[in-house]
Amino acid sequence: MKERPKLGRGLPDVSKFFLSDASHQEQNAGEVTCSTFAPESLYICSPGSPLIQSIVTANLALELARHGHRVRIQDFSTSNETRLSTLMGSILFRDDRDPGKAFVRLYGLPEIMIEDGFSGDLGKEKESPHEAEPYRDDTGSLTLVNAPVLLDFIQGRAPSDEYIILTMTDEKSLLKCYAYIKVIHAHGESSRVHVVFDDAVNGINSDTVFRKFAGFINERLGFEVDYFGSLLHDEHLERSISEERPLVLFDGISITKDALIRICSLLLEGYKEGRLTEP
């Protein structure tokens, strides 16, 4: 008797994805039907919190995959707690033949590949960053870079197409964020920068803070940054960390999950508009 194929790994997770509010057309796995622009790289950076940075990277990777994008993550985390393989531990698939890589293979979604940035070829790239082409591969994947919070790391790599920078809204954090944006802009003038406020309430206060912040950047550096809203923290975020399961897989109500999905939606809207082609 012919053996029936087994249900795919992580089917319950994916069924929840398909019940979410994204349009069905956008959920056709494996095909990017909605984009007019296909960026190669997205650099995620949170100078104040590497943990939040890794959380955003993990969730964004899954959301992008849900919208049909092939995603490759270069993980340069320096501690176990912030490593993508930890935060995505419950859905991770490892290949013993290649210890520097891990995979997320959820039924119906393109595979997400996670590479340890400090091992193998990527480690070599770090030694001679200007000669490397770190974002391109032959699968057409979008590369998410979960980078160490170091200015010289940004300066030593090829400029990314886009950067998401997370910052808290106190003066010192904003100043640090400004310094990063200045370095990013000097490094690659065509790169787009999107700012997310970490754990600030959306509304008058954060809008005002962003207006001042973006106004200063525009006046001083002569370019515009986008605002992707605020990432509020709720109790489900804490649970997702301890359960090693990205929050976008949670099927209940969570303001943090909503914020993560909104960040991805805004990112994808930019691709639809094709605005990165003419920065």
């Binding site: 200015l151 300066q155 001083r220």
Partner: protein, 188 residues
């Protein structure tokens, strides 16, 4: 002998997780919830309890003044929403008839803080100073409860070079004037 050096963990989420672990394992409290309330009306970083009290925990990872204000607003929110909280949590999880205690953890406190709070507040307050030692990859948390007098941490005068060093942004090439203009723009 093992010498432990202080380590500066700048990631607030990690500091909160370390402190939460100490609250569970060091103080033996049961953590009922993380992050309840909201920033507009007051929030509590950790809601914990034991058999005799309810602890409204605030963990300061930046400015103590903000943390103190947050703790007081969180306390106010808790008192005003006690009826709501009693409805959504099971009695087996937490007994809201127990008296609440404000618990504040911070890396530093100003002098006479215990005296100021004792005279200024009717709520019970417990203050803990924490120190993170070891390495960033393998940190150790040392916590002590504040008594009557503590060492002061002086506010340093504005020094752009020191600020750049503190934030690790020396390589960004920000001028002193640029930093001053930035801070002025954000404050107006």
């Amino acid at each position: 002998m093992r010498l432990l050096k202080p380590v500066d963990i700048t990631d607030p989420a990690r500091v909160i997780r370390l402190c939460a672990q100490w609250i569970k394992e060091g103080l033996g409290l049961k953590i009922v919830e993380y992050r309840i309330g909201n920033t507009f009306t007051g929030s509590i970083d950790i809601l914990a309890t034991d058999s005799s009290k309810i602890y409204l925990v605030t963990i300061n990872t930046d400015r103590l003044s903000d943390a103190l204000l947050g703790a007081l607003r969180g306390y106010g929110w808790y008192i005003e929403n006690l009826g709501f909280l009693t409805r959504i949590y099971q009695p087996s999880e937490i007994d809201f008839s127990l008296p609440p205690v404000l618990m504040i953890l911070s890396a530093s406190f100003p002098p006479e803080i215990t005296s100021i709070l004792r005279h200024g507040l009717k709520a019970d307050v417990r203050l803990f100073r924490y120190l993170i030692l070891g390495s960033e990859d393998d940190p150790d948390l040392y916590v002590e409860e504040l008594g009557g007098t503590q060492i002061a941490v002086d506010a340093a005068p504005f020094d752009p070079a020191a600020l750049k060093q503190e934030l690790g942004i020396e390589e960004a090439g920000l001028t002193d004037e640029e930093i001053k203009e930035f801070l002025t723009a954000m404050r107006t």
